[in-house]
């Protein structure tokens, strides 16, 4: 008996909170056919927002992948003063409000920020432009590769790396032939999570973007802008594009996850 009660309780909770709202947005988008939805996501503003989002992710994800692996190696393999602080810094973006992140960059590179007057003098614009949006995206998506790679590095130990070194391999050769193949699934999983976060970031980007339609508007900002200007079809259609990206992320995650667990 209690088995059925628990099952009904758990499933209806997920249905009411998760499945029904997401399902409804899909239904609302396509209730008048594919035509209007397609038109809504191919307006110049929507297409430009898509390009901006992809551009930001195309820079933030590789940057966080390369430095994520370097940071993970530093945390696991090296001993140096301030390592504890480094470790805590890596986790901080996970727990910090995106709006606070945006504000922090505003106070660093904005008009009244630390580097504000120097940047204005030299004609460099960081906030209310693409560079600022890229920087905050790097901030919020920074922990994922590090957090996935660190436990794997701990687990594989250093024996094989030491063996390679005694056989005369250089540091880079050891990394490429021994370390990298061992951590590649963890890196892949981290990259998927980083990409999802980079494509979906809203709060931090909203603060530093300045909301210039057709210039600094990402997909997520486009959803909000469309909704606020009562273009519900546009908002729903853009949401569906983002939701489909999220679902492909889940699929990619399940692709990487089992292999990692078998390891």
């Amino acid at each position: 008996m209690h088995r059925w009660v628990l099952r009904a309780l758990g499933l209806s909770y997920l249905g009411v909170l998760l499945a029904a709202p997401v399902g409804l947005v899909f239904w609302r988008t396509f209730e008048h056919g594919v035509g209007p939805a397609w038109d809504a996501v191919t307006t110049p503003a929507a297409k430009h927002a898509f390009v901006v989002t992809i551009t930001i992710a195309a820079i933030a994800v590789p940057a966080n992948t390369i430095f994520g692996v370097i940071c993970a190696l530093a945390i696991v393999r090296r001993r140096f003063p301030g390592k504890g602080i480094l470790n805590a810094l890596v986790d901080l973006p996970l727990a910090l409000s995106p709006v606070v992140v945006g504000l922090a960059f505003l106070l660093l590179y904005g008009r009244n920020g630390w580097f504000g007057s120097w940047l204005t003098e030299h004609g460099v614009q960081i906030v209310f432009a693409l560079p600022g949006m890229i920087l905050v995206t790097i901030f919020v998506s920074l922990p994922f590769v590090v957090r996935e790679v660190v436990p794997v590095l701990h687990e594989i130990g250093t024996e094989q790396e030491q063996a390679a070194a005694t056989l005369g391999a250089s540091g880079f050769q050891t990394f490429r032939r021994v370390t990298l193949p061992a951590i590649r699934w963890a890196v892949g999983y981290g990259v998927v999570l980083t990409t999802a976060r980079a494509l979906g970031e809203f709060g931090a980007v909203s603060v530093v973007s300045g909301h210039v339609v057709g210039k600094t508007e990402t997909m997520t900002l486009h959803v909000e802008e469309s909704y606020q200007s009562f273009d519900y079809v546009g908002a729903y259609a853009a949401s569906v594009v983002l939701a489909l990206l999220a679902i492909s992320t889940l699929l990619a995650m399940s692709l990487f996850k089992p292999k990692e667990e078998i390891r």
Binding site: H2, L6, R7, G10, L11, Y13, L14, L17, L18, A19, P21, V22, L24, V25, R28, F67, I70, C71, L73, A74, F80, G82, L86, A88, L92, P93, L94, A95, L96, S97, P98, V99, V100, L103, A104, F105, L106, L107, G110, N112, W114, L135, L142, A196, L199, G200, F202, G203, S206, T220, V223, E224, Y227, A235, Y236, S239, L242, A243, A246, L250
Partner: protein
């Protein structure tokens, strides 16, 4: 490994240093004035109160969902397990919009919670849904069922077995899931911004208040409230770390 330290300092430490510096620029009295502003206090109170309730619901429902995913067998279980992570992958603004579509003014079920505190509660519940489930699930999977069977054979009912055998084992996992959910809830912005209506003293949460201060040009005020949020987040993070060390030491023993 100077490269790693330099990258993290540049991306994470420097902006946060600028934030703290700007918050303290007006001195202790200026900081206190910004933080004790009635609208700021009301936003902070609402955020902490709703987050606490959200954590309670998560602790109970997250455990129930983790339980049916591990101990129950039903058709479609794989799909249910897969969609749990959707709130992690879905952009927050889309999460807010989906809730608004169903529970907003034009919703098909005739329930309209938009611009109320219930809306804030729902939005935070949505974005924090996976945390407790995903921390409890692996612990339940590894839990030895011999103890439960022994309890049952000694005449304990399901409730008694759960209270004395299962619950003490999964409690640390529930706690660490709740802490993660709390850290997430107090900073949430995207999911709340459309559905809450952002009414000062009623539905305005801390991050939305900070956003409003930035828009109206009061950066020092925004920075002061941000520092409060920053310290709460940091404290939660430290608590999670301590909890994790405690439980892993327990495992090894």
């Amino acid at each position: 490994m100077g490269l790693a330290t330099a990258y993290l300092s540049l991306i994470v430490l420097l902006p946060l240093a600028a934030l703290v510096w700007h918050a303290g620029k007006a001195g202790r009295s200026g900081f206190w004035e910004a933080v004790s502003d009635p609208q700021a206090v009301s936003a902070l109170k609402l955020t902490l109160a709703v987050s606490a309730v959200v954590c309670l619901v998560n602790a109970v429902m997250g455990t129930v969902v983790a339980w049916i995913l591990v101990r129950d067998r039903f058709p479609g279980q794989g799909v249910v397990n897969a969609i749990i992570d959707l709130p992690f992958a879905l952009p927050t603004i889309v999460a807010g919009l989906t809730l608004l579509a169903l529970y907003g003014p034009n919703g098909p079920v005739g329930v309209n919670v938009a611009f109320s505190r219930t809306a804030v509660f729902l939005a935070l519940l949505f974005v924090t849904l996976p945390f407790v489930i995903r921390t409890v699930q692996p612990v339940l999977l590894e839990l030895d069922r011999d103890m439960e069977e022994a309890a049952a054979s000694l005449g304990a009912g399901p409730l008694l077995t759960f209270r004395h055998i299962v619950f003490p084992n999964v409690f640390p996992a529930i706690l660490s899931g709740v802490a993660l959910a709390f850290a997430r809830a107090i900073g949430e912005f995207g999911a709340v911004v459309l559905i809450s209506g952002n009414l000062p003293f009623k539905t305005e949460v801390a991050s939305v208040f900070i956003f409003g201060q930035i828009e109206s040009g009061d950066a020092p005020g925004a920075a002061a409230v941000s520092v409060v949020i920053l310290f709460i987040s940091f404290a939660v993070l430290l608590a999670i770390g301590a909890l994790r060390r405690l439980t892993t030491r327990h495992d090894r023993a």
